[in-house]
């Protein structure tokens, strides 16, 4: 292998390991949040909980699907750059970015629509906290995608060198997966 190639390999190894460690830490964070919520809920026989009627679930389900689609878009974008299609990458990132923002908007709507305040009972706080911290992560992801989008325009990425895109994709897919877990936790059980 040429020196450049080895340097690249090392850089990618570093990026991957670092991202994995960060995501592992994040997983414990969200896992702890969910566990705390379940711990409190099990402790309270009269726990006030959203009743998951189909009508009640429309908005959350829409939000969820938006996020899932965005994850798809990012993944396709990364595939595209691997094939060398800058346009494909840009399209994927842009789409995901917009959908991400839509999702956050939807979440805000969802929270305000069910008329709960952080302060009413424990569940209000749980609902607010879980959705809130997740939304913050989505926003962080949006920033990440934004940067990658700009760099795509600047032509920073090539089929051989686009580790930043890959990392962005990992993060975005991860955040989507976390929401799926929270969706189950908050609405279905």
């Amino acid at each position: 292998m040429t020196a450049v190639a080895t340097a690249d390999a090392r850089r990618q190894g570093i990026a991957r390991t670092g991202m994995l460690a960060a995501l592992a830490s994040e997983t414990v964070f969200f896992g702890t949040l969910l566990s705390a919520y379940l711990f409190m809920r099990l402790d309270q026989p009269g726990w006030l909980q959203i009743t998951a009627t189909p009508a009640r679930l429309i908005l959350p389900v829409l939000n969820t699907s938006v996020l899932v689609v965005s994850a798809l878009a990012v993944t396709l974008g990364e595939r595209a750059v691997a094939r060398g299609s800058q346009r494909g990458l840009a399209a994927g990132l842009a789409a995901a970015l917009v959908l991400g923002l839509v999702f956050v908007g939807g979440q805000i709507l969802e929270f305000s629509s069910n008329g709960m305040r952080p302060g009413d009972q424990a569940f209000g706080g749980v609902f607010f906290t879980l959705m809130g911290f997740h939304a913050l992560h989505v926003l962080a992801g949006v920033v990440l995608l934004g940067i990658n989008l700009v760099r795509t325009r600047l032509g920073d990425f090539s089929p051989a060198r686009h580790i930043a895109v890959t990392m962005g994709t990992w993060f975005w897919v991860y955040v989507t997966a976390v929401w799926l877990a929270m969706f189950v936790g908050l609405y279905l059980i």
């Binding site: 390991t17 964070f29 409190m40 309270q44 424990a122 911290f133």
Partner: protein, 552 residues
């Protein structure tokens, strides 16, 4: 092989200062060595501050009914003493040695994320200053370093102290997480050719495990604290029983972090000792793989025992038994380490330098702390002794007799590498003996005070309970320790005043950091050697006795 010997013994370029000179150079540095030095310097300052707080505590408790500090000030002082020593003293000092040494030990040119590294240092410094600034702005936190809810809720702690504490600890958690990710990636990705994980210096191993523990334990603390923040600022009710919250939730979340935290504090120290003892015994670390494994096992078990801090909270007794059992189990890998160190010294050729004295002191005192810990894993005994001075004594034998002794030993051992000068051995020996005698004077009486029924965290006590004498001894001891630290500071300054000798390998040591200049070059190594065992430099200096030739 000869190629390596050449690489190792002759690659000794003259020292060059890493990065730009002057203050600006230090502020803007991303060089792991300079960041390491920054961590060590700040850590030492905070450590001395925490020491002063300890002196105040001891003065207040020296005599019954003392009125030097009121309850308000006293509670602030002991809270900040604990928080400072743990988050701003021991952890940064360990991080400092890690930053400075890990790349050198691995044969790397820098850490994986130099900028991130700088960031985590500055975040740490800011958090430390922020927390301590609370003394001036409306009073420091006064709820103890484990800040039990609901005492920390608005209703019971209306002041801003707790908010300072929350912000400070949140930032420190962030800083530590970033630093740990940096260590993990550096250790997993940037090792010299041939240095497989099972040939790493033991300090690198313990730093790896420590960082893993930090990455997986800290989020729990972060969650606990964020929920508290929301309770205080947004009126949520996570810890508010009246509104469907749960008071014990805090304890579960906190100790899920809090117990692993103990190993975050002690494992790097064990790594340092595992580096120092072989060098000054002229023998390899006895049972390298078992010592390495015991760290992993401790990391494993550390996550399963948090409720042994909650034996008195009324958990069902079956649960208590299970946690007790796991706590006992942790004693085993710990014991294995101790015996391995003794076996390393056995029939060696001991050179009792100050560094070695502190390492031996570590074993002697850590054993006391460990045995105290075992006695606290015995549930009925814990019911009597938890939250008494017996516990205070136990964890000070672990954290002072353990962590701090190792860190001081490490200071004497690696100071020459960092500065090109040795620390004075005469003052060093004085420093050691004062610390050793002093710490036993402080903490051994505390075992007895606990047995005599003195709870921790009381700002005063009535006469006639047989507590006075022991408290007085402890206070005297505290001042002996303070004196010893003064000697250390003097020693540091005097040694730094002397002209550097630039000995690359003053102790005839085994690991890669000694193969390069003292202080090392900006880029650490002229050429990166190939490693064939856990003691590459030994192999190079003793081709006939090389470890990679020996079968155990």
């Amino acid at each position: 092989m000869p190629a390596d010997a050449h690489a190792l013994t002759h690659a000794r370029p003259t020292p060059a200062s890493p990065g730009r000179p002057g203050l600006l150079g230090w502020l803007s540095t991303v060089d792991h060595k300079r960041i390491g030095v920054l961590y060590l310097g700040s850590g030492l300052l905070f450590f001395l501050l925490g020491g002063l707080e300890a002196l105040l505590i001891r003065l207040q408790l020296a005599r019954p009914g003392e009125t030097l500090l009121g309850p308000d000030i006293y509670n602030q002082i002991f809270t900040m003493h604990g928080t400072t020593m743990i988050f701003l003293g021991v952890m940064p000092l360990a991080a400092g040695f890690g930053n400075y040494l890990i790349p050198l030990m691995l044969g790397a040119r820098d850490v994986a994320f130099p900028k991130l590294n700088a960031l985590s240092y500055w975040v740490f410094l800011f958090a430390g200053l922020l927390m301590n600034s609370s003394f001036v702005f409306g009073g420091a936190p006064s709820t103890g370093w484990f800040a039990y809810a609901p005492l920390t809720e608005r209703a019971f702690s209306p002041g801003t102290g707790v908010d300072f504490w929350i912000l400070g600890v949140l930032l420190l958690g962030l800083s530590t997480t970033l630093g740990s990710i940096n260590f993990i990636v550096t250790i997993l990705q940037l090792r010299a050719p041939g240095m497989s994980l099972n040939r790493m210096p033991m300090f690198a191993w313990t730093m790896l495990v420590t960082s893993m523990i930090a990455v997986f334990a800290l989020p729990s603390l972060t969650v606990a604290i964020l929920l508290l923040l929301l309770d205080r600022q947004l009126g949520t009710h996570f810890y508010n029983v009246a509104q469907g919250g749960d008071a014990l939730l805090w304890q579960h979340l906190f100790w899920f972090f809090g117990h692993p935290e103990v190993y975050i504090l002690i494992l790097p120290a064990m790594g340092m000792v595992s580096e120092i003892i072989p060098v000054f015994s002229r023998k390899p670390l006895f049972g390298y793989r078992v010592v390495a494994y015991s760290s992993v096992a401790i990391g494993f078990l550390g996550f399963t025992v948090w409720a042994h801090h909650m034996f008195a909270t009324g958990l069902p007794s079956a649960a208590l038994l299970v946690f007790s059992a796991d706590s006992f189990l942790i004693g085993v890998p710990t014991g294995v380490k101790v015996f391995s160190w003794l076996a390393t010294m056995w029939r060696g050729r001991l050179r009792l330098t100050t560094a070695m004295l502190f390492a031996i002191g570590f074993i002697a005192l850590f054993v006391i702390g460990g045995l105290g810990g075992v006695s606290l894993a015995v549930v009925p005994v814990d019911w009597q002794l938890t939250d008494t001075y017996y516990v205070v004594s136990h964890f000070h034998y672990v954290l002072f007799g353990g962590s701090v002794f190792a860190i001081l030993g490490a200071a004497y051992y690696w100071f020459p590498k960092m500065t090109g000068r040795r620390l004075g051995e005469g003052l060093g020996k004085l420093h050691f003996w004062l610390t050793f005698v002093g710490m036993n004077l402080v903490f051994m009486p505390m075992h007895i005070l606990g047995l005599l029924g003195m709870p921790r965290r009381i700002y005063t006590y009535a006469a006639g309970k047989g507590w006075e004498g022991w408290n007085m001894i402890a206070t005297i001891g505290a001042f002996v320790v303070a004196l010893s630290m003064l000697v250390f500071v003097v020693n540091l300054i005097r040694s730094l005043r002397r002209p550097p000798t630039h000995e690359a390998d003053p102790w005839d040591a085994n690991t890669l950091e000694w193969t390069t200049a003292s202080p090392p070059l900006a880029y650490n190594f002229a050429e990166i050697p190939t490693v064939r065992s856990a003691r590459p430099y030994w192999d190079a200096k003793h081709p006939d006795l090389a470890d990679w030739k020996a079968r155990r």
